[in-house]
Amino acid sequence: MRRLAAWLLWLWMAAVIVAAFHWAPLAKDFLGQSSRILFFHVPMAWVSFVAFMTAGVASLRFLAGRRDARRDRSAAAAIEIGLVFALLATVTGAIWARIMWNSWWNWDPRQASIVVAMLFYAAYLALRTAITDREARARLCAAYATLGLIVAPFFYFVLPRLGFSLHPDAVINLRGKVDVEPKMLTVLVASSAGFTALFFWVHRLRTRLADAEERLLEGVE
């Protein structure tokens, strides 16, 4: 990533941070300043989804086209980073839940769904360690990540809504339609864009690192 682009990203995210706390209005039904978390929590969750989709696409291309090991490494990197973002999203979500409803965790459908997604992709990493043969590992993990391409949208977008609709007595989740205020929406979108760019940058770095590691190993062999 060019230095200029990198520093622009810095500026962008700095602006988002400032805007999140000083420019965007507070959401009506939220306790005190807690709605500010929204501007970080939601983009993190979004980016984890983007990460998992990236891994899925890379894996699909691996399977469908040349079995290029670089694609396999790219997928693994994306999933690692995706898990980190998902974890951050979960933690920020729990903090928010604590502020709002005085309970860190109550298996609210959204919390449960993100946990399922994390377990799914953690299993990917487990799979990676369990298979020793390089070719088989890449192939099977790619198959799994491609399965994720179909299943993850379900985890992120269908499952939360479903649980909610069938258990109306669950903790009332006000996160449904929060972005009514245009200013809030602006910051939210800007934050999401910034985090997405951040992901792609980190992903690129991680993949290049993995490639370099691989070259080192090949050199030794």
């Binding site: 990198a6 700095a14 706390f21 000083h22 300043q33 770095l205 290049r208 690192l209 370099a212």
Partner: protein
Amino acid sequence: MGGPTWVTAVNLVIWTGIFLYLLRLERRVNDLERDR
């Protein structure tokens, strides 16, 4: 303690720290690639 201002400052520091770390990482990876 000015609430929002303080939090903003902390976040900015954290973000800048992460950013600089990534820049350094980028430089190292560039070097690694150039050596090969």
